[in-house]
């Protein structure tokens, strides 16, 4: 279960090119005790509140930069809140495209270190390792440094590592988009399995069909704020499509395919 209460998340970004800055101006700033102008604050999430219960699969949609990934990181406890709070009932695993672990180490070592970092014992790690390698399907590449991996391979291995442990909350951030068809099927099975066991799943995806298929709730973000959130998955997806300049299709599809139990998933 996840409760998000009036959450604000602010990134501080260094070295924006707003002010190139010379040594002299930097010194002057020090004397005047001003903040560096090159630190820009990015207000990525501006006051979000919602509740997700056990057994929920929540889809998160929105344009690039609308705060989807930030929201997931905040739920995972990896980003501190500037204001407000996130409450969860257990440990969360975040599966993201950018969740590269240690890229100069081999896949094998990443598997072991990832398991140990998640708090598994040495023995549990040794037992889980062959399964992870097999699930990832990277084959002989497992003995090469992860920087030699293709994007898809890296994503597969990271997904395999993070899903090796059962979590109360699973956060999937486009982690499946780079995989091939076979891996997408495998990972969907794994998500369903984890969801049945663990409770709450959050899914960020730009392929709306994926969300329509797996989620029973959806949150639509825009510029760090919630535009719409609710149980009416096809309805919200359609509104989002229309706002993005497309045509609505999920409402009709849901009405014809799943009628009369239209909102089940």
């Amino acid at each position: 279960m996840v409760v998000v209460e009036d959450l604000h998340v602010v990134y501080r970004v260094f070295g924006s090119n707003a002010d190139k800055g010379t040594a002299a101006t930097a010194l002057l700033r020090l004397i005047k005790r001003q903040r560096r102008p090159s630190i820009r604050e990015v207000h990525a999430i501006r006051g979000m509140s919602f509740v997700a219960y056990r057994g929920d699969a929540v889809g998160v949609i929105g344009r690039n930069g609308s705060g989807k990934s930030t929201l997931l990181r905040a739920i995972a406890g990896l980003l501190p809140a500037e204001q407000g709070a996130v409450y969860t009932d257990g440990n969360a695993a975040l599966l993201g495209v950018n969740a590269a672990l240690l890229e100069d180490l081999t896949g094998e070592r990443n598997v072991v270190l990832g398991c140990l970092a998640m708090g598994m014992t040495k023995q549990e790690t040794a037992e889980a390792k062959p399964k992870i390698v097999e699930f990832s399907g990277v084959g002989d590449f497992i003995s090469l440094p992860m920087k030699a991996y293709s994007t898809g391979m890296g994503a597969r291995l990271r997904f395999a590592i993070a899903s090796a442990k059962s979590h109360d909350i699973l956060l999937v951030d486009e982690a499946l988009a780079t995989g091939d068809a076979e891996f997408q099927r495998k990972s969907h099975d794994r998500i369903d399995e984890l969801r049945a066991r663990a409770g709450t799943v959050f899914l960020v995806a730009h392929q709306l069909a994926e969300i329509a298929e797996t989620c029973n709730r959806v949150i639509w973000l825009e510029k760090g704020e919630i535009v719409k959130a609710g149980d009416d998955v096809p309805g919200i997806l359609d509104d989002y499509l229309v706002a993005a300049g497309g045509e609505s299709r999920f409402r009709e599809a849901a009405a014809t395919a799943n009628y009369p139990s239209s909102s089940s998933s």
């Binding site: 279960m1 409760v3 998000v4 209460e5 009036d6 260094f14 509140s49 919602f50 509740v51 997700a52 344009r63 990181r73 905040a74 739920i75 995972a76 406890g77 990896l78 980003l79 501190p80 709070a85 996130v86 409450y87 969860t88 009932d89 975040l94 993201g96 969740a99 590269a100 672990l101 240690l102 100069d104 180490l105 072991v112 270190l113 990832g114 140990l116 970092a117 998640m118 708090g119 440094p145 990271r158 993070a162 709730r217 949150i219 825009e222 704020e225 919630i226 535009v227 719409k228 959130a229 609710g230 149980d231 509104d239 229309v242 706002a243 993005a244 300049g245 497309g246 045509e247 609505s248």
Partner: protein, 365 residues
């Protein structure tokens, strides 16, 4: 996706065709059906939920770190192996780096400048100092960037972040052990005997490691928020090296009539109880028999011999006569053990608390 014939939703402006980023935000009121009636905080507490991204209780934090001990050692070993994989000579650099380090200092300070006045067996003296100080130096510099270096890992998995500075100090300790293998060879070749005193090296290195971990915590937190720290640090550390008796003997500078510290006994004392000097002196005391025998107070006081040493420190004939002087202005070896233990415990407790207080903030930036 077709752009013609789209239907505007009721009550909403449709944006322009390309890059219309105002379309969605033009909605008047957000419709959020995922909000219950009761206050969220009460709901969360009623279900026994815990707030994320807050500083964990100290006790459970320590337990968590202990549970991750295999992660810490695995992380250090893996990083160590990966460090030289791109180099053609590979792991040989683990040994070559300390050797070249010692070689450079010997060339400049031993041969060109001749600072070896007043120190018997200068090569062993110098190499020991360089290797021991290098441990602290490397630990400081790497720990100051540890949070930035491992940001992908921090943002991917939840674990106590204190594991990372701990891992980095462990990396340097593993390097140091290799350096010491080289050091033992150099020292034996230089004619030092292998004695039971060598066993004292282990407790000193334990103390020094604890000290480094404590400082590593502090620097890791500073370096995480202020990049200037890692820029400034090399200069601070180098100054520290020159004042810690790595390249020359603080005892000589204090005792001899021409020594710069002769007239400033208080300053001389302070320099010798600074942590780096303490650990270096203790290691030299353990490892180098000639150094040990030449320490002031090692032999019964003999005025004539002491004066000879103080007047002519450069004369190789008298350079071990420092043993006949009074150790009054110099901290004794037992007091150095007390200082070394005190520094280590003080810094590690303060550093750990300092790092822990900011635990929730390390993902940002």
């Amino acid at each position: 996706m077709t752009k013609q014939g789209r239907v505007s939703a009721p009550g909403r402006l449709s944006g322009p065709v390309a890059g219309g980023d105002s379309a969605a935000t033009a909605t008047a009121e957000p419709e959020n059906a995922l909000l219950p009636d009761e206050p969220l905080r009460d709901l969360a507490l009623r279900h026994g939920l815990k707030q994320t991204a807050v500083v964990p209780p100290l006790r459970s934090y320590v337990v968590d770190i202990w549970q991750r001990r295999h992660f810490i050692s695995g992380f250090a070993t893996a990083r160590n192996i990966a460090m030289y994989t791109e180099a053609r000579l590979g792991q040989l650099w683990q040994v070559l780096t300390p050797l070249l380090n010692a070689g450079v200092y010997y060339l400049i300070f031993g041969l060109l400048l001749g600072t070896n006045r007043g120190v018997p067996d200068y090569v062993s003296f110098l190499v020991t100092g360089v290797f021991v100080f290098n441990f602290t130096q490397r630990a400081f510099i790497t720990c100051s960037t540890v949070i930035r270096d491992t940001l992908p890992l921090i943002r991917a998995l939840p674990f106590p972040r204190a594991c990372l500075p701990l891992g980095y100090v462990l990396i340097e300790l593993q390097q140091l052990i290799l350096s010491f293998a080289v050091l033992f060879v150099i020292v034996v070749v230089a004619g030092e005997p292998v004695t039971p005193y060598w066993l004292l090296i282990f407790p000193v290195l334990v103390l020094q490691s604890i000290f480094n971990v404590g400082c590593g915590f502090i620097l890791a937190r500073w370096g995480a928020s202020i990049d200037d720290v890692s820029q400034l640090l090399p200069f601070i550390v180098r100054t520290w090296m020159y004042t810690s008796g790595v390249l020359f003997s603080l005892q000589t500078l204090t005792l001899t009539f021409t020594g710069k510290l002769h007239d400033h006994p208080a300053l001389a004392y302070l320099l010798q109880i600074n942590p780096a000097a303490v650990y270096i002196t203790l290691i030299r005391y353990a490892l180098l028999a000639e150094y040990r025998d030449a320490l002031p107070g090692a032999k019964p006081y003999n005025h004539a011999r002491c004066v000879l040493y103080r007047a002519f420190p450069g004369n190789t004939k008298y350079q071990s006569f420092s043993a006949y002087c009074h150790p009054s202005t110099l901290p004794s070896i037992p007091s150095l053990w007390v200082w070394g233990t005190g520094w280590a415990l003080l810094v590690v407790v303060l550093g750990f608390l300092f790092f822990w207080r900011a635990e929730a903030r390390y993902g940002r930036g």
